[in-house]
Amino acid sequence: MPGVVLEEVTKAFPGGTVALDGLSLEVADGEFMILVGSSGCGKTTALRLIAGLETPSSGTIRIGDRVVNDVPARDRDIAMVFQNYALYPHMTVARNLAYPLRQRRTPKREIARRVQDVAEMLDLEGLLRRRPAQLSGGQRQRVAMGRALVREPEVFLLDEPLSNLDAKLRVQMRAALKRLHARLDVTTVYVTHDQVEAMTLGDRIAVLSDGRLQQLGPPQEVYDRPVNVFVAGFIGSPPMNLLRGRVRDGRVSAGDFAFERSGLADREVIVGVRPESLHPSVDGMPSLDFHVSVVEPMGDEVIVHGSVAAELANDTPGEGESLLLAGDGERAAAVARLAPRDRPAEGSVVRLGADPAEVHLFDADSGQAIR
């Protein structure tokens, strides 16, 4: 039995904005599904539709096996963690946690037990008597999660819960969330714009852009086999290098980088090479001249910024627009990730190569991947 199903869901707001356009998505029972994309892509709208805080313009939403389009939010047996936590400022942590249970008239003893359980699970025991204003960001976030969990809901929704935390806390909370999910096994839908969170937390990720689903799949698959230029450029940090190129007589070339690939018609393409796919050139490997401008030593690797003799591709095409920027032959900015021992000097030119099997090709007009 699937946890949550969205069927051809469309949401248009008065005023004309179409936030979601025919989104179809199935979240398996107990799965941790991540909706990821940049702002305005519709991920938060999708979450709010599942929650019942908005109604779809068309399409069906199912939770468990019932259609919930007309079911109000409070009857859907789902819990949500809001981006800004939405803790009740005038109530103590204990009362915040107890609130959902009190609204459903749960017996007092049961309330006390569950609040205690959740407080232990999230390390909130010492804070029960405090008010939200007296808590740190991380503590508030845990209270928000606790309030959602205390009801033991069928579906757990999270709206960018880590985005207001500082970097270090974010890393800790990611791990804590993963442990929590493993322990509770609740169907979870998690919205974020941070692709690192998406990659590390999700069982599957759904990449959205402009209200449409771009790709759905396990993180590694989305990383290894992006279906279009948008997903390719969005997943992975630093982002994939996307260069103008062309296929001619079975030979793919982008600037001074070229390799053979059979079975392709002649056309304009976008050549995608991940920074981590670039290595110091070895004989027989297709390579290019990389003009180094900035070197960032990260300790375990160096990130090298520079330029290559090709043109940059526009990774988010508009209507009818080609993916290729009208260029004037300028060099494209590019990024490479190298081992510390291969660290080049700033201002130098190094020869870097990539295994053709790791190079992605996309059609220049549609942006779709060419296999």
Partner: protein, 311 residues
């Protein structure tokens, strides 16, 4: 004192004289800035406060020289049946006016916080009476409540109810005053509540809905507590204003009929400016002052323990 400048020539630094230093000092500047306001407030507020106390200890008819009578005015007040009934009327008025206007305003503000069509018109309609003066309100309501040809009696007649004397009935007059002052002041309370309601993040109510709260339950457990500061302010403010009721009484009933609408300030006005018992009037004013102070402090104290402030 000599200082050697970089060029090697020595420059002598002379300390300015005392007066110059004084003139340039912050203290003089500060006092110069506050002087006009301080003088005005001192003359027209601070001195009157003290003088009023002095007056209350005198028999003073505001014209001839006065003489001291100690606490005689206060003792007389304590025994004065007219003062006592003025106090009763004022309290009755306050106890009815405050809850009606505060809770009425809360309900109205919730209703006006919607995004339905015409909401701007409704809001305007509720706010407009606020800018009419107390005198205008009194005159208009004198006509509306006229026992013979007033609109209200006409409407009662139209639904078959008997005609009322309203402002000419000793048992009804005070409540009519309540009605007209609520009409005139409701907009103020609504404005305050609307501002407070709009300060409550919508996310909180969404969270409450997700937590299973019905709209009514969310209102009681989330909205009302968060409106606490506004409610406290309005209760204190309305009480202070209610205790000082005067204008509408003067314009409509002049304290009648049969003294049923004589409130404290109206009694003060009669005593001080119609019977020229200035000292007595001052004593009434001081009693009122102390009463307002006590009532306000009590309300604030009760409110402090029960109202949550988000800071």
């Amino acid at each position: 004192m000599s200082v050697h400048a970089p060029t090697g020539r020595s420059v002598t630094y002379k300390r300015p004289g005392v007066l110059t230093r004084l003139a340039r000092s912050e203290h003089v500047a500060g006092w110069a800035f506050v002087a006009p306001a301080t003088i005005l407030i001192a003359v027209f507020a601070l001195i009157p406060i003290g003088w009023s106390l002095v007056l209350s200890l005198q028999a003073n008819n505001l014209i001839a020289p006065a003489h001291y009578v100690g606490l005689a005015n206060y003792r007389a007040l304590a025994k004065d049946p007219q003062f006592r009934s003025a106090v009763v009327h004022t309290l009755l008025y306050t106890v009815v006016f405050v809850p009606i206007s505060v809770f009425g305003a809360l309900g109205l503000a919730v209703a006006l916080n919607r995004r339905i069509r015409g909401i701007r018109f409704y809001r305007l309609a509720v706010f407009v009476p606020l800018v009419t003066s107390t005198v205008a309100t009194g005159i208009i309501f004198l006509w509306l409540l006229d026992p013979t040809f007033g609109l209200v009696n006409y409407l009662l007649h139209a639904v078959g109810l008997p005609q009322q004397q309203f402002l000419q009935d000793p048992n009804q007059a005070l409540w009519c005053i309540v009605a007209m002052t609520v009409w005139g002041w409701l907009g103020f309370d609504v404005i305050i509540y609307l501002a407070a309601l709009q300060g409550i993040p919508a996310e909180l109510l969404e969270a409450a809905e997700m937590d299973g709260a019905s709209r009514l339950s969310a209102f009681r457990s989330i909205v009302v507590p968060l409106l606490g500061p506004a409610t406290l302010f309005l209760v204190v403010w309305s009480t202070i204003n209610a205790l000082q009721l005067f204008d509408e009484i003067y314009v409509t009933t002049r304290g009648g009929p049969l003294g049923s609408t004589t409130v404290i300030v109206y009694y003060l006005y009669q005593q001080a400016f119609q019977f020229f018992n200035g000292g007595y009037g001052a004593a009434i004013a001081y009693v009122l002052f102390v009463a307002i102070l006590i009532v306000t402090l009590v309300q604030l104290w009760i409110g402090r323990r029960r109202v949550y402030y988000s800071s």
